[in-house]
């Protein structure tokens, strides 16, 4: 199976570190040693590597269906405590019995299908309270473009047929713009969450953060905590100091960090954090454009200022 170089994707790497930030706060709710992290880590198991590095007390289980990817995972095993399971996620979910165990799930999908929402709904109905669930979905409106006439005609119909049950308006045409499309996806996740945990049950899905980014392919991701309804305010308090929190299903935040050299980053370091006009300050500090024009350059540098703490270092290594 061919895989894109997930480990070299900047925005995805930022998102991964933002998850770490959220997991760190779960310590305020429960002991991290009581958690098990479940992920669909792909061949390189980057998320597991990170979790092990920062939270060695968290137990880890990777779920992978493809035989060769599974073999590559065995090859890349970052630690001896990670349990690799070769299973289809659906069958894993059918067997998953948390009892009182706390879980952190990352449904890290590369595509977008109704089955993803079904998985999410099934999972939300199964995890024990104070478990964290993160879902990542492909967000490419062009997937639903009618290739023949470049309109959303039959593509829109196909979208409605696939996702009607979780769309806020099942008769609507999906938007063409990236930002509007990810907002629709977030609404769909919210509808699915409310279907899985309706007001009649004591548990609910409290969102914590939501982002969208594009490392060639557009992606949307949302993290939340399954908690008791009467404890939702406490959960919100736990994440109140999370920099990029989204506790109210507000619009997701864009991650679009620029590619900067290590030298540039070290140069900018002394100007950070930057409380106001970050884009302009960093642009002045660099003294040149890093994108098409001033406006875009400052927007990208503002992104850098926002996410610099989560920005990974990719180094050339000599084997």
């Amino acid at each position: 199976m061919k895989h894109p170089p997930y480990h070299l994707r900047l925005n995805k790497a930022v998102d991964r570190l933002l998850l770490v930030d959220a997991i760190r706060r779960m310590d305020r709710l429960e002991r991290l040693s009581d958690f098990t992290y479940y992920g669909l880590g792909g061949p390189y198991l980057d998320d597991f590597r990170l979790i092990y590095e920062l939270f060695p007390e968290i137990k880890m289980v990777s779920i992978e269906e493809d035989e060769d990817t599974y073999k590559r995972q065995e090859f890349h095993l970052p630690c001896g405590t990670l349990r690799l399971e070769r299973a289809q996620f659906k069958s894993f979910l059918a067997r998953y019995e948390p009892n009182d165990e706390k879980s952190i799930f990352w449904l890290d999908y590369t595509g977008l299908g109704y089955g993803n929402f079904e998985d999410l709904m099934a999972l939300l109905g199964k995890v024990s309270e104070n478990s964290m669930v993160k879902i990542t979905l492909r967000a490419e409106p062009r997937d639903f473009l009618d290739k023949q006439n470049e309109t959303l005609g039959s593509g829109a119909e196909s979208f409605r047929r696939q996702f009607g049950a979780v769309m806020p308006d099942s008769a609507a045409t999906p938007p063409l713009g990236f930002r509007d499309f990810v907002c629709l996806l977030q609404d769909m996740v919210q509808v699915a969450a409310q279907k899985a945990l309706p007001s009649a049950v004591p548990l609910m899905f409290q969102p914590v953060s939501s982002f969208y980014y594009s490392d060639v392919t557009g992606m949307f991701t949302l993290t939340g905590v399954v908690c008791r309804r009467d404890a939702a305010a406490d959960i919100r308090k736990v994440f109140q100091d999370l920099h990029f929190r989204n506790l109210t299903w507000a619009k997701p935040t864009l991650i679009n960090v620029p590619v900067l050299s290590t030298q540039e980053r070290l140069h900018l370091q002394k100007f950070l954090p930057c409380p106001s006009s970050a884009g302009r300050t960093l642009h002045e500090a660099l003294g040149y454009l890093i994108d098409k024009d001033k406006e875009r350059t400052e927007a990208r540098l503002k992104q850098y200022a926002d996410f610099h703490r989560y920005y990974p270092y990719f180094m050339r290594a000599v084997p």
Binding site: M1, K90, G113, Y114, G115, F117, E118, R160, R161, Q162, F163, G164, A165, V166, M167, P168, D169, S170, A171, A172, D187, Q190, V191, Q194, K195, P198, S199, A200, M204, R229, W249
Partner: protein, 472 residues
């Protein structure tokens, strides 16, 4: 007690208990359906209205606006209001026998819909209505609900006048479960309500009625059928159509056909592993006086899985049918009290269901005959358009119908002649096999320089190449 002493029995009390209406009857209906009942009243109002249009858009200019919040529900319409002449009937629990005959085409039969909807949601309700010179408010308070003896509800002159004749209902003091659906579950509830309205009211919205939920209009999702144009005698994809008028005045129009091309084998296989479509148009939609009482049903209720018809399966994903019952007297329509279900014991419906099976059988047979040759079958649909039910009815006028006077039900029917696959010559054999998708893509890239080549073309090309080599 002495042997000879006669026990005196007193008459038993069989009077209705208010709580039965308020807390019991409301359990029979989903919240979304209760709101549809309120919309039904709006449409019945249009039918009574003198402003009603003729032609294809009889409901144009009429609208209902729905708004819900944590603490209230409101529906407001401009559909003519409740005539003062109906005040003694409209608010009664049940339909009084002396109620004047209704306007043709309305669906209110049992006199329960509006009240059940109000009691389903909350304990405070204000109904303000304006019909011609009459403008009045009817207010239901919690004290009235709790008082088992009082059945009269006070009527007062309306506090506010309206721009147009119509009715506004505001419900407050919501039950906790309802308030939670309007707030905690608001996103999901609005999605579900929109979906229900866009399907069950598709035909009415298509005819001009506007339903607005939380300031956004609902777009209809009518069921459409492929109806080939061109040479009417040629074997093309057209629906089976049956129409009839019963002795007691119920008009029936039935059409069943394809709404999309047949699914590929891959699509069928994938669907078994995971649900790919969350909403599909396959199955039967039943309309009673324009309202959909069933939408895309695929159960025994509509003839699937009995009397020679197989159970619904993904291979029949393209088969869709619509039956329309229309009658001036709504009590003759085969619906349940919720108006969102079929009275399965209705003799009329049972007869029509035989025709539904007959029509469905033609397309099931077609699907079976083309099984494994989907790409060929698709060619018969390419370029053809699926048209909404009203257009099907209009186009049906140009088809040649045959009368079925000796069968039950009597009527006229059009049986399409569908294109049939050529029989494989005896010297030919079909080869079909399943391979891993990665492997198929790998071979496709090797043979066609692209991974998305059609799997059957990949297989055929492989065979041709080996054949060429074998013959050397």
């Amino acid at each position: 007690m002495g042997k000879n002493k006669q026990i005196q029995y007193e008459p038993v009390d069989a009077s209705p208990v208010k709580s039965f209406f308020v807390t019991m009857l409301t359990r029979d209906i989903r919240l979304e359906e209760a709101i549809l009942d309120l919309l039904d009243n709006c449409v019945d109002g249009i039918l009574r209205s003198k402003k009603r249009n003729g032609g294809k858009k009889p409901y144009e200019g009429f609208k209902a606006e729905i708004e819900f919040k944590k603490d209230s529900f409101m529906i407001s319409d401009n559909c003519g209001g409740i005539p003062w002449s109906l005040h003694s009937y409209a608010f009664r629990m049940g339909r009084a026998s002396d109620r004047p005959a209704d306007t043709p085409g309305t669906v209110g039969v049992y006199g329960i819909g509006m009240k059940r909807a109000l009691f389903k949601m909350g304990r405070d309700c204000l109904i303000s209505t304006q019909n011609e010179e009459h403008r009045y408010d009817v207010e239901i308070k919690p004290e009235w609900i709790d008082d088992e003896k009082t059945w009269e509800i006070p009527v007062t002159a309306a506090r506010r006048s309206m721009n147009e004749d119509g009715t506004t209902i505001v419900i407050g003091n919501l039950y906790p479960g309802i308030a939670a659906r309007f707030s905690v579950d608001a996103k999901e509830f609005e999605s579900e309500l929109r979906r229900t309205v866009s399907t069950h009211y598709a035909f009415i919205i298509d005819k001009g009625f506007e339903v607005i939920i939380n300031n956004k209009a609902v777009a209809p999702r009518p069921v459409s059928l492929i109806f080939a144009t061109g040479d009417r005698k040629a074997k093309r994809i057209r629906p089976f159509i049956f129409k009839s008028r019963t002795d007691d005045g119920v008009d029936v129009f039935l059409a069943v056909g394809f709404t999309r091309p047949m699914p590929t084998e891959e699509e069928i296989a994938t669907e078994q592993e995971e649900v790919r479509y969350s909403s599909i148009d396959a199955g039967w939609t039943v309309l009673c006086n324009d309202r959909a009482v069933l939408y895309c049903d695929r159960s025994e209720l509509t003839g699937w899985g009995e009397a020679g018809v197989p159970r619904y399966h993904t291979q029949f994903i393209g088969i869709s049918g619509i039956v329309e019952f229309r009658c001036d007297d709504a009590s003759k329509l085969p619906t349940t009290t919720t108006k969102r279900g079929i009275d399965a014991a209705s003799p009329l419906y049972l007869q029509i269901r035989n025709k539904m099976r007959e029509g469905m059988g033609i397309f099931i047979d077609y699907t079976n005959k083309w099984k494994g040759r989907v790409e060929e079958a698709k060619k018969h649909i390419e370029g053809e358009r699926a048209i909404p039910f009203d257009e099907v009815k209009a186009k049906a006028g140009k088809l040649s119908f045959r009368s079925t006077t000796r069968t039950v039900p009597k009527g006229d029917q059009y049986k399409p002649e569908l294109p049939l696959p050529k029989k494989l010559e005896p010297r030919k054999r079909r080869i079909s096999f399943v391979k891993d998708v990665e492997d198929v893509e790998c071979v496709a890239e090797y043979l066609f320089d692209g991974r998305d080549a059609d799997p059957s073309s990949v297989g055929e090309r492989c065979f041709d190449l080996i054949l060429k080599e074998a013959r050397r």
